[in-house]
Symmetry: C5
Subunit: 98 residues, 5 copies
């Protein structure tokens, strides 16, 4: 998994039937020191994440291991909202402070 | 998933039997601010996308989770046509304006 | 999928039993404008491709979705020979002219 | 698999139910000469690794092949703690000396 | 698949039970002209490869398609030792000459 910020969303009406009713978030990936990098992913939201949230996302077949995404043409899923992130004994992110 | 523009197509007659009748689109990938980057993918079209459309594509085993691509040697699929794309509260793409 | 040119082959006698009798091609990947890039893949040939052919290859679990590669430790397969490739309304490759 | 150092952890309470009780480690990836590179992964801990340990991690569907991660939306797992690492006949890491 | 040289090994005693008795090789990846690049992989050895051997390795779920690695948290496997490698009609590697 990697960590990313929820920065946007995508709307699509002409789509595969199995994608109906899924919310598609645009994530901007963070680097190993919590800085945004120039890489994004469009992921299905499985945990009601909101704009600005730091989240964990999984990719590949693992993205289909939630009830919501099982058997669907989805290769990325947000499956957790980050509360806190520690690196080398230092806190680099705390949700309630963000 | 990532977002890409439909920029071309590929025709192949000498191919694995399971690929028969699938339409193969050439996609140019967009970056996190909707700029084209020097990366492309050849994907099966599961949603009748047209040239110039901005689309969502999935890769890996997830690309086989549509009725069209199930059990086929296909590692990328177009499974949605993007209507609109928002980033940080700003609209960066709107299909009807494109 | 991506597009590549068949540029070579690999011979291996000491190998996993499931790989017996598979032809291993060396592919040099093409970029989005049909220029060779410094990336290669070794792929199982499922369509009798020849040296110099432009081909489509699939990777990951999708590479095992041909009769030839089913259940085998193979993560790349050539499953189509490209006849023609169009980009933005322009033909960038035509097999019979190549 | 690749080798990485355990450098941190992530806490998330709002998450997919299948992730309950899994410990999430932040790994900083090592290069081919055991130097830290600017790439990290968040992985489920399947072997009780500790801060500073050098570990092996697997990604993709292989990350779900432990008892702990089976059927879960997890695309990276720590499944071994490195005792020693040899390169070209030279020892580049020995846990008891670290 | 890609081609790599066996350059080392990793020993780990604290590991997932399913990894017991597997030999873990460190591979340094070769580029499209048989030059070593700064990328390595730790792979399970399914063919008794030795130090200095040029080998083929597969990654992802395909790495679990050998008897040895079936159902194990392993995302890379050495499944062939390269005897010879030809590029554009020229031999770039011949094991018995190496």
């Amino acid at each position: 998994m990697r960590i990313a910020e929820v920065v946007g969303s995508v709307v699509a009406t002409q789509k595969d039937a199995r994608l109906a009713a899924l919310k598609l978030l645009v994530l901007r990936v963070r680097d190993h020191e919590n800085r945004p990098i120039d890489e994004y992913v469009v992921a299905v939201d499985a945990v009601s994440a909101g704009p600005g949230d730091l989240v964990l996302f999984a990719t590949g077949s693992s993205a289909r291991q939630t009830e919501l995404t099982d058997g669907k043409p989805c290769d990325a899923v947000v499956m957790a909202v980050v509360d806190s992130w520690d690196l080398g004994g230092t806190n680099v992110y705390e949700k309630w402070k963000a």
